[in-house]
């Protein structure tokens, strides 16, 4: 069970959270203008790194707010949490 530091509530058990996929994937500004390849990229392709990964979480059984986290997928260490709309922080 991960211990995830919610930016509002502090460290809480993973079971209180919902995972929301990769962060910083904006909806295309003009979807109709995309090629099939670009649309496929938006729809189906996400980062899958072995290492730091920026991702969205929702503290669904707590404050119910969304936030972003950088987590190392090789160790599960949470390297940073930050609020939606903020840029991805530099992590070591």
């Amino acid at each position: 069970m991960l211990l995830i530091p919610c930016p509002w509530c502090g460290p809480r058990d993973e079971a209180e959270f919902g995972y929301g996929g990769q962060a910083h994937v904006p909806y295309p500004q003009d979807p109709a203008a995309l090629s099939d390849r670009e649309w496929a990229r938006y729809l189906f392709f996400r980062d899958n790194p072995k290492g730091p990964h920026a991702e969205r979480w929702c503290h669904s059984a707590g404050c119910r707010r969304w936030f972003n986290a950088v987590r190392n997928t090789a160790t599960n260490e949470v390297l940073a949490v930050y609020r939606v709309g903020e840029p991805r922080p530099v992590t070591g």
Partner: protein, 410 residues
Amino acid sequence: MSPRPPGAGLPEHPDRLWRNPDPKRRYEVVIVGGGGHGLATAHYLARDHGITDVAVLERGWLAGGNMARNTTIIRSNYLWDASAGIYEHALKLWEGLEEELDYPLLFSQRGVLNLAHSLQDVRDGMRRVEANRLNGVDAQWLDPDQVREVCPIINTAPDTRHPVLGATYQPRAGIAKHDHVAWGLARSADAAGIDLIQNCEVTGIEVRGGRATGVRTSLGPIAADRVALCAAGHSSVLAAMAGVELPLQSHPLQALVSELLEPVHPTVVMSNAVHVYVSQAHKGELVMGAGIDAYPAYTQRGAFHIIADQMAAALELFPVFARAHVLRTWGGIVDVTPDASPIIGRTPVDRLYLNCGWGTGGFKATPGVGSVLAHTIAYDEPHPLARPFHLDRFTTGALVDEHGAAAVAH
């Protein structure tokens, strides 16, 4: 007279099943990943195509990844034609594999029940039975009384939270001993002259002029005319070395076994709604699989609350398990695609072949994918059964959506 050293009276070490050669500097084919799929591909390259100048490179020890961590379920009762094609091809190969490898695989066709707990489950299950029959896959629809006949320990009482309303039944499905499968395939490939190289991590893929020409490894560079990737959870990491991006997410998938029990469970039971799949190994452990952990990770372990949920689900279906103890739990890394179907075939890089995206269900396909991928490598042309599973389907939209039949339980 000096005392005999400890162990001197023990019998000789049994014969090794394969050599442990040092890698040559060049091979016709390099297969990255010495799990079930990599070993099966090597076996069929030799058997069907006479290609034996092959190395299987394994970062750890042979079959120590998902091949050692699955729940050994074998079945082919998938909904879509493309899936029925490749999984039924695999099941037919399973039916002759013990003889072919001359090795005991404990392949046991004890059938699989996929339970229905809602009217929609019933409709989906009946539809799948009909689809299976049209594809030549054995399938029956069972009502709750017939379910109880096949597996008397399932709680089919109507007052449970998720009552059993029926089940699909594939009698030819079953289980096999995963380690034996790997060892049998490894022995066969080795006997054909194929080099199985352990503790050899691939750190780069050489691409020249759009064509794969070899790999860099922890044991030095190895040139190759063709490179095939069979790395399951690490497929994204490997493919990125050749500049190929894949629509995969790598998740931990957990399973557990109970202590050894008398035979109580005669078949394989899967339930998507209650979210568990259970069989009993020959040795006596109840083998249960869970769903994936929600977030991507390469940790080969998952969270305990997933295990707790899974055991609660198992108890709901099998009250008789209430006093069984967990012997151990473990996790593997599974590479999941958006449509819950695998990716097999050529890549944008010439002579680089993919086999990934099997998600939670790769074990059952082991001989099938071995034969299909070997064909694809030998002819540089996808095997007809592999064609629907090309990487391009995510661009064309021709997905093979097996979520209904495959997403949760394998």
